[in-house]
């Protein structure tokens, strides 16, 4: 008998001992970060960065596969007893010696998870993790010249890159309301002092918003640089337009934290037939949020319409894609992305 067959036999036998639970249910009590467990992490420290941002140091479980600089990780945090999932960019370099990873979180107004992590998270707390993901990463071949264009918390994936890989010629343009709002300011200035980075800070409270059309005044050779941009939708939309206008769009890589919602319509009564719950939904709230709010176990992923981790059969009724306004009607086999779909009249979601 091969060792895998033997192991599967042993596991089956163990399951017969622990039924109706699984052996892992007992192991989780003593060793939640072990290899083979659902991927979790333990918060080891929380360091304040600015008034409303903090870096969370996480010790990931043994199953953690490691990340590439620029990627993000989804974490599930229990806030007031309710498990909420959010995605955050990883700010630690991929080769960190102690195996810990850090995320840096900016508390946004009314943000349940971000405020919890920045202000209330305690070392020792267990959180749920997903494997890191995202294609906002550096290429295999080192580019000769690099531009990082960031605003606000958009600096976080770029900080992961800066800490990970050194380039000969790196320019960064970063926007924040005031100097004290610049996350990682001391570290950035150290890099400047070491001549590893040229940095332009745009303080939007005094300087006004960055006008992309005048980027050339700050970085004359911007069009020759491989550029990684991350920030609010307005900045990224403008950048994409500008790069396309100059025919260099292949040099621009962008990362968005949120989908841009364009259309909303009327909502309706939403039934989650597998769970047996019915709730009223407006036409602007994603069905994922509606379901979670009602206590339905909804699969979720990036929460912005990219990863398809949340797809669920639509049994009846119609839903509206919040990004395009497109209506999808129920037919056998129709799957919808609940994170970017809202009710368009009464509908039935198979959860």
């Amino acid at each position: 008998m091969t060792s895998t067959a033997l192991r599967s036999r042993a596991r089956k036998l163990l399951e017969m001992v622990t039924t109706p639970l699984l052996p892992s249910d007992y192991l989780d009590l003593v060793s939640p970060l072990r290899a083979g467990a659902d991927l979790r992490g333990r918060i080891e420290a929380v360091h304040p960065e600015t008034n409303d941002a903090a870096t969370v140091v996480i010790r990931p479980g043994r199953g953690w596969r490691g990340h590439t600089a620029g990627q993000y990780v989804r974490i599930g945090v229990d806030v007031d007893g309710v498990r909420l999932w959010r995605a955050y960019s990883i700010t630690s370099p991929a080769n960190r010696q102690d195996g810990r990873v850090t995320i840096t979180v900016k508390a946004i107004p009314d943000g349940k998870v971000s405020n919890h992590l920045v202000r209330r998270a305690k070392p020792g707390t267990l959180i749920q993790l997903d494997q890191p993901t995202g294609d906002f990463v550096l290429p295999q071949a080192k580019p000769a010249k690099v531009l990082y264009l960031t605003a606000g918390s958009g600096i976080t994936p770029v900080m992961g890159m800066l800490r990970d890989t050194e380039f000969d010629d790196v320019v960064m343009v970063h926007c924040a309301p005031r100097p004290q709002d610049v996350i990682f300011r001391n570290e950035l200035h150290d890099l400047v002092a070491d001549k590893k980075l040229r940095l332009t800070e745009v303080h939007t409270d005094t300087d006004g918003m960055l006008d992309i059309a005048r980027l050339g005044e700050l970085v004359p050779d911007w069009a020759e640089r491989e550029t990684w941009a991350c920030g609010p939708a307005g900045l990224l939309d403008a950048a994409e337009e500008h790069w396309t206008e100059h025919g260099v769009q292949e040099r621009l890589y962008t990362e968005r934290f949120r989908p841009s919602t364009v259309v909303t319509g009327d909502g309706g009564e939403v039934t989650f037939s597998a769970t047996g719950k019915t709730v009223d939904a407006d036409g602007a709230t994603p069905l994922l949020d509606i379901g979670e709010e009602a206590g339905v176990l909804m699969p979720s992923g990036c929460r912005m319409g990219i990863c398809f981790g949340c797809v669920t059969p639509l049994k009846a009724g119609a839903v509206r894609d919040l990004r395009t306004g497109e209506i999808t009607e129920a037919e056998p086999g129709v799957l919808i992305q609940t994170c970017v779909s809202a009710a368009a009249g009464p509908c039935d979601i198979e959860r």
Partner: protein
């Protein structure tokens, strides 16, 4: 059933007001659910698992009488915790709001021969919706007993004290059969129904797993203690069965609890539904430990009013609910466990014999509402 309707003094308007007051109690708890509640259920689950592990560990040496006693007692308590404070309440969706897939009504499985999926249907949907409605709520005597004067007598009921005793000893099997609606489905024509067969298969699988674990694998692991461990797991299951049967009998069978006619729930309003739950349930009084071991079903009235509120909150809810009973001059049926168990058994004996059909006048609230 008493010949006088104990709610006759309430107007339709008062009943709706009562409903609104109960809704307010519910909303307050829901708004306050949080970290402490989550920590509570996680702690209970963790303690239960550790207790079960340790008890089964001790039972590996059950050939020594002190080990047998200790292990059997521990395993009995662990099984009771699993079924009552954890399983029953998780399967009610009381903890779904935490969005933890490991503690959720759609993923939970319990140490019981009835698969959670089937139990949820017969218990959550049928019993909790049609509480104490004759002909609709099969929990009223589980289809083998008469527990109300209004239920029709049959010579079969002469044996009901014995049926009840057997049901108590093998309660989990009684529930599995009940969830399968065996009485109805064993008729020749229904037996072949594919849906019934699939459900029966699921129960068969669950029974096999439970029996293998408790009566084969665990005794085998005990080696020389094989027989004593077998006796221990059998005893633990027996203790759990009799305990849960007793607690559950106290929920709806003691004297003073009302039952309802089918037609009385036609067009029932939210307020009337609440009132039926209030009059159709009975509590058990006692210490904190007592409430815990009953899975807080000692707060049966509160549980029936708010089946999906976290069980650790029923005690505080009970204070407010009881005040409403007083305000609306209704009888809050409660008593210590021995008294309530005796009362329920007394009824089982009494109603094994036929009685004169009582004359009951249920007020027709539908008309009253229209008038109001």
């Amino acid at each position: 059933m008493t010949a006088i309707d104990p709610t006759a003094h309430l107007t339709a308007e008062q009943i709706e007001e009562l409903g609104r007051e109960l809704d307010a109690i519910r909303d307050e708890v829901i708004a306050g659910r949080g970290e402490k509640d989550a920590a509570y259920i996680r702690k209970v689950i963790s303690v239960q698992r550790k207790l079960e592990l340790v008890s089964r560990g001790v039972l590996l040496f059950s050939i020594f009488p002190p080990a047998w006693l200790l292990g059997t007692a521990g395993l009995s308590v662990a099984k009771i915790m699993d079924n009552m404070e954890i399983g029953h309440n998780v399967l009610h969706g009381q903890w779904d709001w935490m969005r933890d897939p490991k503690i959720h009504s759609t993923t939970w499985e319990w140490d019981h021969v009835s698969p959670s999926e089937q139990w949820k249907h017969s218990h959550n949907e049928l019993h909790h919706t049609y509480t104490n409605v004759i002909g609709k709520d099969n929990d009223l005597g589980y289809g083998i007993m008469r527990v109300d004067e209004d239920q029709k007598w049959h010579p079969f009921h002469l044996g009901q004290p014995l049926w009840n005793f057997i049901n108590a000893c093998f309660f989990e099997y009684g529930i599995a059969a009940y969830d399968l609606e065996l009485g109805k489905n064993l008729h020749k024509r229904r037996r072949k129904n594919p849906e019934f067969r699939a459900r029966a298969k699921a129960v068969g699988r669950k029974i096999r797993k439970q029996v293998l674990k408790d009566y084969v694998i665990h005794p085998l692991l005990s080696g020389p203690s094989f027989l004593t461990t077998l006796a221990a797991t059998f005893t633990a299951n027996l203790v759990r069965n009799i305990w849960s049967h007793s607690v559950i009998m106290c929920g709806h069978f003691p004297e003073g609890v009302q039952v309802f006619e089918r037609r009385s729930i036609k067009g029932e309003t939210r307020g009337q539904w609440y009132l039926r739950q209030m009059m159709g349930s009975a509590n058990i009084s006692g210490s904190k430990a007592m409430h815990f071991m009953t899975g807080n079903l000692s707060h049966q009235i509160e549980h029936h009013l708010f089946p999906d509120l976290p069980s650790n909150r029923y005690a505080e809810v009970a204070v407010k609910v009881r005040a409403l009973f007083e305000k609306y001059e209704l009888e809050y049926v409660t008593g210590p466990l021995p008294k309530q168990v005796f009362s329920a058994w007394h009824k089982v004996f009494r109603l094994s014999l036929p009685n004169k059909k009582p004359k009951v006048k249920t007020p027709d609230r539908e008309q009253e509402l229209v008038a109001a």
